[in-house]
């Protein structure tokens, strides 16, 4: 496999992992499992409600941060970075 193909494979793998987390915090914690999550409280907020209105947004920020950092590293590793 060529270097470019390996780079693309690593990229797709990273994106899949990050999008799985994206799905879990918003759709799973925030909607599908919200009742079960709400039995756990942090302060005065049920955890499901918190993920739906606060936690998922914070997680999205972390996901983009990890993506940008990891991709910049992959660019250098596979020698496809900008000059």
């Amino acid at each position: 496999m060529s270097k470019a193909e390996l780079y693309w494979k690593a990229n797709v793998r990273l994106v899949s992992i990050l999008l799985t987390v994206w799905f879990v915090v918003s759709y799973l914690f925030g909607i599908i499992l919200v009742e079960q999550m709400n039995t756990i409280k942090i302060g005065g907020v049920g955890l499901g409600f918190w993920f739906a209105q606060q936690g998922s947004i914070y997680t999205f920020l972390v996901l983009i941060y990890i993506y940008a950092k990891r991709m910049n590293a992959l660019d250098v590793e596979y020698d496809v970075h900008e000059d």
């Binding site: 709400n38 998922s56 947004i57 983009i64 993506y67 940008a68 496809v80 900008e82 000059d83």
Partner: protein, 594 residues
């Protein structure tokens, strides 16, 4: 100083600032007009994207939606932020690498087809024009309510301001004014939120105030208190009420996320940064700036609702003195009654205000025993929650003036971004791309300016004469973008096998299914009476509301595009190389030599 003078001064200062920036950041080339010369720092672009993105709906309407829908409004909070993850991971870096000026241009090149490009232009204009009408209406309403001008005059002033900086400066002028507008709107949003959170919970950070105890020393959590207060009056419990059903919430959230990532005026902002690397980080910065408002909104919504309920239900439910006497209503109540957005009708003639859920049958029985004859707050417009909040919380007049300037900044910045997306698709995609291919740089720039002026005039016209379809439009714009543009872009990058026919049929069937569903429940072009299936939950497919249907349209788009591509010849070799090239960042600098 009285409120109106103060508002004139604050709004006047911000407008002078925007015009000053317009003269400083004039565009001299098409590169500057379409993409700000690709020299915008990623943090600055993030801030401009946040202002571009957060419209009058985010600033004014969202907290009201949260206040009255509680947990159900989570679809907006997750949907309008989660789209940035899709944008950052799946689109922005690659489209920046491609290095052209518009979204239809990518679709036309990748699918080697003028038809695909024109279909994309049509989808873009449909989504953007519906969106911009809402902004124009917001500007007119803000002027008429706070500066006591006519609605029309307010609209002309707004159009004039946008005209100056968008026609002169194109993307360059828009970018720098959006940065200024972001600062104004975020300051205007967070200052009242901090005061209110302090008042109610004693915690100055609204995000933490949401989960804190009440400041009255009762030891009750704010959200528990809110649940109890509205439950006592027959309303649905705040923290658990769903919007439609959980399936509807799932699909709605997905539609908003995909639609966000597919909206052209947001995507083109990522063409303005110097490198692929910058496009990645810039999407993150955009979400940071957006998250400041979006994580504050749940506190604003819940606390505004609690304030509103406590103002009216001053004591025990069921005791006559528990309800506020109409004669004792506070000043803000009178102010908003004048606008007609707050309406009271003394149904049982006791001179007191009963505000409760009269659609709740069980509660109605109890209410009847107390001599209540129906909910007397016959209208509580949800849009007033943010605008009335500073008055409800007794904040000084300058805070109210600031909120007006913030609302105008939100509407102006989004309108300008949308107008640029529309005008560049006309001058660059239709004119240079299809009809007058040998147009000179100078003439294309002139054409861009004329198209911009035309788009402003058109948006203004629709603002003055809102067509029937303007009512439910902003939400529909997401469905249109989700079902047409996003899938075409994503497959263009991630699936080399998708070809011309696949992309065209995918876009047409995706947007077709979505529009059909919307029209059959909301009326053809939203004309009342033409809906051939009623606009009621029992008629909805699996209980999915028309606003939430974009995700289904997107699935149809993907399925059709992939199937048609499988049955027809693969894209030519040079297209496969094009895809391989945009997948790696190397060589992006060369791509800017357009």
């Amino acid at each position: 100083m009285d409120l109106q003078t103060l508002t004139y001064i604050v709004v006047g200062i911000t407008f002078a600032l925007y015009i000053g920036i317009a003269f400083w950041a004039r565009a001299g080339t098409t590169g500057e007009f379409y993409a700000a010369g690709r020299g915008i720092h990623p943090v600055a672009n993030g801030m401009a994207t946040a202002a571009d993105w957060m419209s009058a709906a985010s600033f004014i309407s969202m907290a009201g939606l949260i206040a009255f829908n509680g947990y159900g409004a989570s679809v907006f909070l997750m949907g309008w932020t989660g789209g940035y993850v899709l944008l950052a991971l799946l689109l922005a870096p690659y489209l920046r690498k491609f290095g052209k000026f518009t979204v239809p241009e990518f679709i036309g090149d990748r699918y080697y087809s003028q038809t695909a490009r024109i279909v994309a232009v049509i989808c873009l204009i449909l989504a953007s024009i519906t969106y911009v009408i809402g902004q124009m209406k917001g500007i007119g309403v803000a002027f008429s309510r706070f500066l006591e001008t006519d609605y029309d005059t307010g609209l002309y002033i707004g159009m004039g301001i946008v005209f100056i900086y968008a026609v002169l400066g194109g993307m360059k002028g828009i970018t720098y004014t959006q940065i200024a507008q972001y600062c104004v709107l975020i300051f205007a949003y967070t200052v009242p939120a901090i005061f209110i959170s302090m008042n109610i919970t004693g915690n100055p950070v609204p995000q933490l105030g949401l989960g804190s105890e009440m400041a009255d020393g009762s030891g009750t959590y704010m959200l528990d208190k809110l649940d109890q207060v509205i439950n006592d009056l027959g309303f649905n419990e705040y923290t658990t009420q769903v919007m439609g059903s959980k399936l509807n919430m799932f699909v709605y959230t997905l539609s908003l996320m995909i639609g966000t990532a597919g909206l052209p005026h947001v995507i083109i902002r990522f063409f303005t940064v110097p490198k692929v690397k910058d496009a990645r980080s810039s999407a993150g910065w955009a979400l940071v700036f957006i998250a400041i408002l979006y994580t504050t909104a749940p506190a604003v919504g819940s606390m505004a609702r609690l304030n509103l309920m406590n103002t009216i239900q001053v004591g025990e439910v069921g005791v006559a003195e528990g309800n506020l006497a109409y004669a004792d209503r506070p000043q803000w109540f009178k102010n908003w009654e004048k606008t007609g957005l707050l309406q009271y009708e003394d149904k049982n003639g006791d001179g007191r205000i009963q505000y409760y859920n009269d659609k709740n049958a069980d509660f109605n029985k109890k209410a009847a025993e107390w001599g209540w004859k129906g909910n007397e707050m016959t209208k509580v417009d949800r849009d007033i929650m943010v605008l009335a909040n500073p008055e409800i919380a007794n904040l000084p007049n300058w805070v109210v003036a600031l909120v007006v300037a913030g609302g105008l900044a939100a509407a102006l910045s989004t309108a300008a971004g949308l107008l640029l997306a529309i005008s560049s698709s006309i001058s660059h995609d239709l004119l240079k791309g299809v009809f007058v291919k040998d147009i000179s740089e100078k003439n294309e720039l002139m054409a861009g300016r004329i198209a911009m002026a035309g788009a402003i005039a058109l948006a203004g016209y629709f603002g003055l004469h809102p067509p029937d379809f303007a009512a439910g439009t902003v939400a529909i714009a997401f469905g249109l973008a989700a079902s047409s543009i996003f899938p075409a872009l994503m497959m263009g990058i991630f699936n080399k096998r998708v070809n011309r026919s696949g992309a065209i049929w995918g876009m047409v069937s995706g947007i077709g299914v979505t529009m059909l569903y919307v029209f059959q429940h909301k009326g053809i072009m939203f004309i009342p009476g033409t809906a051939f299936l009623g606009d009621m939950d029992p008629n909805w497919f699996l209980g999915i509301s028309p606003n939430a249907f974009g995700a289904i349209g997107a699935v149809v788009n993907f399925a059709v595009a992939i199937t048609v591509s499988k049955l027809t010849a693969p894209p030519p070799e040079h297209i496969q190389h094009l895809v391989e090239d945009i997948r790696v960042p190397k060589g992006a600098a060369a791509a800017t030599e357009h």
